[in-house]
């Protein structure tokens, strides 16, 4: 238990350090941008007849730091603001704090991504075992090729195909939104949740299709390497049933996949931009996309920061899950 807490503390420190690094990076990126947007807004406000003090205050609210004074001062303001979850104010929709909008969008993306990953993990692992056990046969070979192909195809291709088929060609699913606001109001009751699920099917399916191939391939090679282990031979000699041996095999083979799980979060959140754009699903990715179209830089850095933070948190969770599942890791630390 103590080592577990140490591990958690280590992860949290590293995660915070990473978030800090990303923060610093985005801060300087915006400063370095051609025609520094902060300076531009400041000058625009002065040109509109504001006094320098007022303009400075207004710009500071938008970006979370003051456009004048030494860079380290601005940076400090920005970071202290962030520590209080103050991400500035949206430039485009004036007056609405970025944090509100971003945290409003986040649950939808997390819901989508998690259900997509869960489905693809289950399907991929199952098929991966089949592909490894039958790897000499046509089944195994075609499973692997199909897996690698879908793994290789970028998510937006799958998204476009699904959208074209199921929202336009056959109108089986809605073409946008998280739920139908005309029919149901948000709340904890069956109709609303069904409607949310109905809107989520296609985007989640796109995630799942785009990523199950990776699981399949990882599980296949993991099973292939565990198959040669002595403990399986021993189990067979002891006369254990096929089912028991399969359980031995599966428990050991699935372990390395949790490290892959950690890496895949970054990819999946990256893919969220496409999937949400294609299916008009208003989540974090859509927000990042919209902010770029509108050149809304505080919104852009805010949503980018939250996406990164979400990936880091997901990584930590995946790693902790790994410690729970694999006793060997627990003992090492």
């Amino acid at each position: 238990m103590k080592s577990f807490l140490w591990r958690l503390a280590g992860h949290l420190t590293r995660g915070l350090a990473m978030i800090w690094a990303v923060t610093t990076f985005t801060f300087f990126l915006i400063r370095l941008m051609p025609g520094d947007p902060v300076q531009v807004q400041f000058e625009k406000l002065i040109a509109q007849g504001m006094s320098p003090d007022q303009a400075e205050a207004a710009t500071a609210i938008t970006y979370g730091f003051v456009p004048h004074g030494p860079v380290w001062r601005q940076y400090l303001d920005y970071v202290t603001g962030l520590a209080q979850l103050d991400l500035g104010v949206s430039v485009e929709s004036q007056g609405i704090p970025v944090a509100d909008r971003v945290f409003g969008a986040m649950p939808w993306t997390v819901l989508l991504v998690l259900s997509g990953i869960l489905v693809s993990f289950l399907i991929g692992v199952g098929l991966g075992v089949v592909a490894a056990l039958r790897r000499g046969s046509l089944t195994g070979h075609s499973l692997s090729i199909a897996g690698s192909l879908l793994h290789g195809v970028p998510p937006f291709v799958i998204g476009i195909v699904l959208a074209a088929l199921f929202t336009r060609r056959w109108r089986w699913f809605p073409s946008g939104g998280q739920y139908n606001g005309d029919k149901v109001a948000p709340g904890f009751y069956a109709d609303f949740m069904l409607d949310v699920a109905y809107h989520m099917v296609l985007p989640a399916a796109a995630f799942a299709l785009a990523s199950y191939g990776g699981w399949l391939l990882a599980m296949r090679s993991s099973v292939a390497s565990v198959l040669g282990d002595d403990f399986l031979l021993a189990a067979e000699l002891r006369g254990l049933t096929r089912w028991m041996r399969f359980r031995y095999l599966a428990r050991n083979a699935i372990l390395p996949l949790f490290t892959v799980l950690a890496i895949s979060f970054g990819l999946v959140f990256g893919g969220a931009i496409f999937i949400e754009r294609i299916f008009n699903y208003p989540g974090l990715g859509m927000m990042l996309y919209a902010s770029i179209g509108a050149r809304d830089f505080s919104m852009m850095s805010g949503s980018f920061l939250i996406i990164t933070a979400a990936v880091i948190v997901a990584n930590i969770l995946a790693d902790l899950l790994y410690t729970v599942i694999d006793p060997r890791v627990r003992r090492q630390t």
Partner: protein, 312 residues
């Protein structure tokens, strides 16, 4: 001739058996024969090679086959499929096949250049970290972890908005510097396991210079991992670019599969009208075909370098 059956039986028996060959001309010849044998085992792999060669050919020669400004014909929008327009025409009456072919070069050029950047940075960082160990290792791997953790595509979008990536080499540099983390990790773990092996120890014992050990002893053994990783990285770069254009983050004034997709999906409503379907399907088909080619080649590479996956 002899090396292949040998490695086959060894692969079936022993568990850990990465290739440990002495380096020299004869080995190189045997390597190419191994490649040929692996290709021949499944005709699909030769097909993969043909597909990828076709795309490279399109990238090199494509723009020479067509005039700089593709002819358009407003009266012939979304023309039916014919010999003249094998893949129909787009919303301005431009031949879709021509668009696909001319769109190849820019994407492939940037992706290849980015691949070179990734290869140099990733290999150098991985080799140095794995061979030197110590503080340099921890620092480099922290950076690699950072690059791996930060979600690549959002970062790419933010970067391309912030920096003007108008020229191809800037785009390549940005892509290459985002994507080196995975390669560095793979190279490092290989270096770590190889440096304890007998032949490296022997080389160190002989007092050979580090440069010799790294370049002549380590690198040839790591090359397969670099090759596989690189091929996948280049494919990812192609898709990242197509994705950027598809979202409309980059200016849509070049010929690119992503530009076609953007127009087809978001602008001209090709999702709805069946006439425009070829215009949507052509870039999708190009991406699928390229993926298929790369997958088949990686399949061959894996068998050449990792005999454990070979079926008994």
């Amino acid at each position: 001739m002899s090396s292949v059956p040998n490695s086959l039986s060894a692969g079936a028996q022993s568990k850990r058996r990465p290739p440990q060959r002495p380096v020299g001309g004869g080995v190189r010849r045997r390597f190419w024969r191994g490649v040929w044998v692996a290709l021949k085992r499944r005709p699909s792999r030769i097909a993969g090679l043909v597909i990828v060669t076709l795309f490279v050919f399109m990238a090199v020669a494509g723009p020479w086959l067509y005039p700089d400004r593709l002819p358009y014909d407003v009266d012939n929008v979304y023309a039916p499929i014919s010999w003249q327009h094998p893949l129909s025409t787009d919303f301005e009456g431009v031949d879709v096949l021509a668009l696909v072919v001319t769109g190849t070069r820019g994407v492939l050029l940037v992706a290849a250049a980015a691949g070179v950047v990734t290869m140099f940075v990733g290999t150098a960082a991985g080799l140095y970290a794995g061979y030197r160990r110590g503080a340099a290792d921890s620092v480099l791997m922290r950076i690699a972890d950072f690059v791996l953790t930060v979600p690549g595509f959002p970062l790419l979008i933010v970067l391309t908005t912030a920096i003007n990536v108008g020229t191809w080499w800037k785009m390549a540099l940005v892509l290459g510097l985002i994507g080196w983390g995975g390669l560095a990790r793979a190279v490092r773990s290989q270096t770590l396991s190889l440096r304890e092996r007998g032949f490296i120890e022997a080389a160190r014992g002989l007092g050979l210079p580090t440069r010799h050990i790294v370049v002549k002893e380590l690198l040839p053994n790591i090359a397969p991992y670099i090759a596989t990783n690189l091929l996948l990285a280049v494919t990812a770069y192609i898709y990242a670019q197509v994705g950027l254009y598809f979202l409309g983050v980059l200016p849509l004034d070049t010929s690119n599969w992503g530009v076609m997709l953007n127009a087809a999906v978001f602008q001209s409503g090709a999702l709805i009208s069946p006439d425009a379907l070829p215009y949507l399907l052509a870039p999708l088909g190009a991406i699928l075909l390229l993926t298929l080619g790369v997958v088949l080649i990686v399949d061959a590479l894996e068998e050449i370098f990792n005999p454990r996956l070979r079926e008994a």
